[in-house]
Symmetry: C2
Subunit: 239 residues, 2 copies
């Protein structure tokens, strides 16, 4: 089963949801057949590369609350994160662009597969939410990516170029086509979806349901030359 | 776009089809948005690990032809392979099980991603068809996998265990559910399929059609707490 998770590295519900999904997956009988791919979603593509506004200031501006109300709001989210074993400490972090973080997640998928991408995703979320490090800072991104196991030279190459911008764009386009309005958003075998940081029980139900779902009927465009249990076709039917 | 290719490493049409698909992909305008994953398909799960029968003998037994007819048959396939730049030379190779080769392809996907899996897939097909090496032989598999970039210790661990048998089983189960009778079999975004070693034009058409296809409607099971362009939901709706 293929589970695609659209999320952003600066999205608190994405980190909380990650733990809840992981709890459900750990208990899922067919977990060894599940592949998880992280898809890119930029919450604010217009955010600056170098942060100038703290998250609390950005929240205050967005929701129009007083600093005290913002602090309370962040405390509520942090308490829910703590219930999942996460130590949120992002008061002083700044509001930045995440395109480079997403390009590195695509690099990780390409060169290190599902394992390396998952490792980098976790490391980026933790760097941002638990260590208050900026997702727009090249040094931070390099440090986190290299610690996760990526090659420093390839990381530099990607950060110096537009490499993987197409991959990020493809994820965003797919999100748009699925009508995804917010993240985290979980897609199971391109059939079923769960929106948001659900309780583990909801994810467990989705895994069960997707696993036993009717396989969609494929539109077979063309029938050519194949090998099957009874041998190989001898004539090239594509000619 | 996700293209999943079911194939076996001992299937001549899979290698020929690989070149034809690659020709089409190379010309596809959105090729940078295409991810290719190889899925496992065992043509003969009951084949012995250590080959005792040559391919030509197995073909003769299967199709009931004389040795001369079998040689001619193999010559025809080799000529089509040559048209794709492949030098088939598999007369003396033996008919073996391919489960271990498939388990290594799953390892490659896990630890090295799409790139490493693609590299190993190509190397296994070439080892079998162009160098006449056995796919059931541990030394051959180790040599090919390590040359492709896999860690020797991990390769040994996987070959010493049943690791990734679940992953191979999951691919076979999915093939069964899609009604796949023979390989190669190409699935585009779990919507469209192309069966067999088609001409590049057929793959080009499938890529175009899949790219512009209507995105399937997802069944949204549950709506929880998300962050969106306008900010993050403040209440945990999963509670």
């Amino acid at each position: 089963m293929l589970v695609e998770i659209w999320s952003d590295v600066v999205c608190p519900w994405c980190f909380i949801g990650k733990r809840r999904f992981e709890s459900a997956l750990k208990e899922f009988a067919h977990r060894d057949e599940v592949e998880v791919i992280y898809r890119s979603f930029e919450l604010d593509p217009s955010a600056p590369e170098v942060g100038v506004e703290s998250i609390s200031a950005a929240l205050g501006r967005k929701y129009g609350g007083t600093p005290e109300q913002v602090t309370e709001m962040m405390g509520t989210v942090s308490a829910l994160a703590a219930a999942e074993g996460l130590r949120f400490d992002y008061e002083n972090v700044t509001h930045t662009n995440t395109i480079d973080a997403h390009r590195l997640l695509h690099l990780a998928l390409d060169v290190g597969g599902l394992d390396l991408q998952a490792k980098l995703k976790e490391a980026l979320l933790s760097a941002y939410f638990e260590a208050g490090r900026s997702m727009g800072d090249r040094e931070v991104l390099t440090d986190v990516a290299v610690s996760a196991g990526l090659d420093p030279a390839r990381v530099a190459e990607v950060l110096d170029s537009e490499e993987y911008a197409d991959g990020v764009g493809g994820d965003l386009r797919q999100a748009f086509e699925f009508g995804i309005q917010g993240v985290p958003f979980y897609v199971f075998d391109r059939q079923l979806a769960v929106s948001g940081a659900q309780a583990p029980e909801a994810f467990a139900q989705a895994l069960d349901q997707a696993y036993s779902a009717e396989t969609p009927t494929l539109g077979v465009l063309a029938d050519g030359t194949v090998c099957g249990p009874d041998g190989c076709a001898l004539e090239d039917q594509s000619a």
